[in-house]
Assembly symmetry: C2
Homo-oligomer: 164 residues x 2
């Protein structure tokens, strides 16, 4: 436990603000899901957007591997925050530990998300209305924030609930 | 199964070449590991390099969350291939399903990897010799290759064993 204390800092408003910034600016991310038959943690790419309340969402085909895994176990995590130049480990990023919740295809909520999603991902107009595509909302349970070397934080759902 | 056939293409040399290219060009990736106490698939960033044989390796602190998870279960997957402009889902990427094998800190193999790693990650000279940093080799079991929309392939270890 003493070792944990050395590497995880106390969460402050700067950490909460950085966490929100990483979510707000994300255009894509890496989602980790559990492969049903093997238990293997599988990572793949998802296009990320935010709903009008600023909560992360993504659009995926139900034929995709991650959709099939999420249908069996919707517990997942998503890495957001892309490196620029230099050491990739020096750039801020966040791992959101979430439940991925399907937005019903024929629902007001789906219709409400369609235009904001297309504003963030205009090329998705090619497939957003395909019958196998659906939105997921990422309901955040906790998060591991890494602001760069030596700047690690463990955030709770409460850290995302109020504006810092 | 008929549905699987529709979405997974037969692996050909073009797919094998793309897979090698994504590994050779990777500077960083997203690793998914299993969190020991919860079973949650956790994704985080790793800096990626290749050994002189072209196999993927990474350097990590044993204090990092992914190192602690790998110490309990070294089965993992790594996403390589970064999007450029436009739709992030239109860009090629690969998920390598692997065993992450620690390279002993005081070994000839570790010494052999040090300079090639620093050539690919010069900024790592700041911490590569720290006592808590160690190399991992990613031993590939299979891979999910996505060459862009509708171009999905399932690769085996054999697809990486010979030059296409």
């Amino acid at each position: 436990m003493a070792e944990e204390k050395k590497v995880i800092r106390d969460t402050d408003d700067d950490a909460r603000i950085l966490a929100r910034k990483l979510i707000a600016e994300a255009n894509f991310g890496a989602i980790a899901v559990q492969e049903p038959d093997t238990g293997v943690p599988l990572v793949s790419r998802v296009a990320i957007a935010t709903d009008p309340e600023g909560r992360p969402i993504f659009l995926a085909s139900e034929l995709s591997i991650h959709s099939k895994c999420l249908a069996k176990n919707n517990k997942c995590s998503v890495l957001l925050g892309e490196p620029g130049k230099g050491d990739p480990l020096a750039h801020p990023r966040i791992t959101l530990i979430c439940n991925a919740v399907i937005i019903e295809r024929k629902s007001e909520e789906r219709d409400r998300l369609r235009d904001p999603y297309l504003e963030q991902h205009p090329k998705a107009k090619l497939y957003i209305d395909f019958g196998d595509f659906q939105f997921y909302r990422l309901e955040i349970e906790r998060a591991n924030l890494n602001g760069g070397f030596g700047k690690a934080y463990a955030l709770t759902a409460e850290d995302f609930a109020v504006n810092p």
